[in-house]
């Protein structure tokens, strides 16, 4: 173990942190939007909406993300018509493919998390809303959604950390995120312990940071549930 190698490698790897964050935030944003849509489909009570959403979650949660990335990056160019369509702008670029694969994944997982939150909202509250003459849309927006979000938040935080870890898979399709750079550095120096362990510690710190900030958000959103001192 040579500390100098790790100290040399760290700044080089940290140059990729921007790309890691871009992947994380874009996939999280798109994926969460997708999840809300899928959630609405699942709880719509119409089988022709909820069944496709269920199938979607089943497929994306049942296959490895790496396989999904390869299907999108290596597989989709097989289709001539796709290469001539507008979508090609996203799909010819490894970054676009990685964001797409990660977002589709997040969509599937977050749907389940949100559904858990929605299902845990007490029936009585919704009945009270109905008795007050609220429409079902009103009940969803003013009763179900705020309570469901609070319950789903801890699991959502864990999902962000999973996503952070999954962004490392982008290195398999030539992207130079932190892991991609680390692999190049190891190929040059052949010092896997120094390089990979120091990078792992960077990821661990980022995960810790995400956990801490999510705790803050949880405390803020759940502030009415905590007893005030004095």
């Amino acid at each position: 173990m040579k500390v100098e190698i790790a100290l040399d490698a760290l700044p080089r790897m940290l140059a990729g942190i921007g790309l890691t964050f871009q992947l994380l935030l874009l996939a999280l944003g798109i994926g969460t939007a997708l999840a809300v849509l899928l959630l609405l489909m699942r709880i719509s009570g119409r089988w022709w909406l909820s069944l496709p959403a269920q199938a979607y979650c089943y497929v994306f949660r049942g296959t490895p993300i790496l396989v999904q990335i390869f299907i999108i990056y290596y597989g989709l160019p097989q289709f001539e018509w796709l290469r001539e369509s507008v979508l090609w702008v996203v799909l010819r670029d490894p970054f676009g493919c990685a964001v797409l694969a990660l977002a589709l994944n997040v969509g599937a997982y977050v749907t389940e998390i949100l559904r858990g939150g929605v299902l845990s909202v007490e029936r009585g509250l919704l009945e009270a809303g109905a008795a007050l003459g609220m429409s079902s849309t009103h009940r969803f927006v003013y009763i179900t959604a705020p309570l469901a979000v609070r319950i789903a938040l801890p699991a959502y935080g864990n999902e962000i950390i999973s996503l952070l870890k999954s962004t490392a898979l982008a290195s398999t399709i030539t992207l130079a995120d932190m892991t991609g750079i680390a692999r190049t550095v190891v190929a040059e120096t052949f010092a896997p312990y120094e390089v990979f362990i120091s990078l792992a510690l960077v990821y661990v710190s980022l995960a810790w940071l995400i956990q801490r900030s999510m705790h803050r958000v949880e405390a803020r959103i759940g502030r009415y549930a905590t007893r005030r001192a004095g």
């Binding site: 597989g75 362990i197 990821y203 810790w208």
Partner: protein, 228 residues
């Protein structure tokens, strides 16, 4: 697809082997981690805490790379002591990968098992003591069966994680399904078809494991059902 079925079949068998071996290691790591966390020894607790924090925060792919290339560097260095002409020694990607994914999922299993052991009702333990059972007997006949029932639902998810993580071992050169798909693509020029087959086989694996978990849960909760 013609001509590639047997390759996919062998590759799927490799994945099944990785899964079974990593499952055994994962349970061992998880139980040891939980034992250390629940022990009264401060050093053991510290080691187990470091283990879970490190492996739950590190990308799986990094752990796979670290174990494979790390072990190769160490083995080569050791090998050179005996025979200076050695260029490169490694442990097979199969074992490096299996242990790597078991270490990661084992960190999650540690928390699951710890929680489940804490969920064993004190009354059962006291009853066992009152019946004169030894510590070991209490552990085997009371703690394990009761904890197992509580741990099963998250344990099913850990098994699913293992199934999906097996795909990562292709990056250190294990000849599994993604490897076959790559080869098949280079001769047939049909990447989508070849990779979608991999996805479908994984989906079948996941379905199988989910079914297995449900059957185990059904069995573990049999005392809660009304007698027929």
């Amino acid at each position: 697809m013609t001509g590639w079925w047997d390759d996919y079949l062998w590759a799927a068998l490799t994945v099944a082997k990785v899964f079974v071996c990593s499952l055994v290691f994962m349970v061992v790591f998880g139980l040891s981690g939980a034992a250390a966390k629940l022990s009264s020894s401060k050093p053991a607790q510290a080691v187990a805490n470091a283990y879970t924090v490190f492996f739950r925060g590190t990308p799986e792919i990094l752990v796979v790379l670290l174990l494979y290339f790390g072990s190769a560097v160490t083995l080569t260095a050791v090998g050179r002591l005996f025979d200076p002409s050695i260029r490169f020694l490694d442990i097979p990607p199969f074992w490096a990968g299996t242990i790597a994914i078991a270490l990661v999922v084992g960190a999650y299993a540690t928390e699951t098992f710890r929680g489940a052991f804490l969920g064993v009702s004190p009354g059962s333990i006291e009853a066992a003591r009152a019946l004169g059972m030894s510590g070991l007997q209490t552990f085997v006949y009371i703690r394990i069966p009761e904890m197992w029932r509580l741990a099963l639902p998250p344990f099913g998810n850990h098994m699913l994680s293992l199934v999906k993580d097996t795909a990562l071992i292709s990056i250190i050169g294990l000849e599994e399904m993604l490897f076959v798909a790559k080869q098949a693509t280079s001769t047939t020029g049909k990447p989508f078809t070849m990779y979608i087959v991999v996805g479908l086989i994984y989906l079948a694996f996941s379905t199988l494991v989910t079914g297995l978990t449900m059957a185990l849960e059904h069995h573990a909760n049999r005392h809660l059902r009304a007698p027929t």
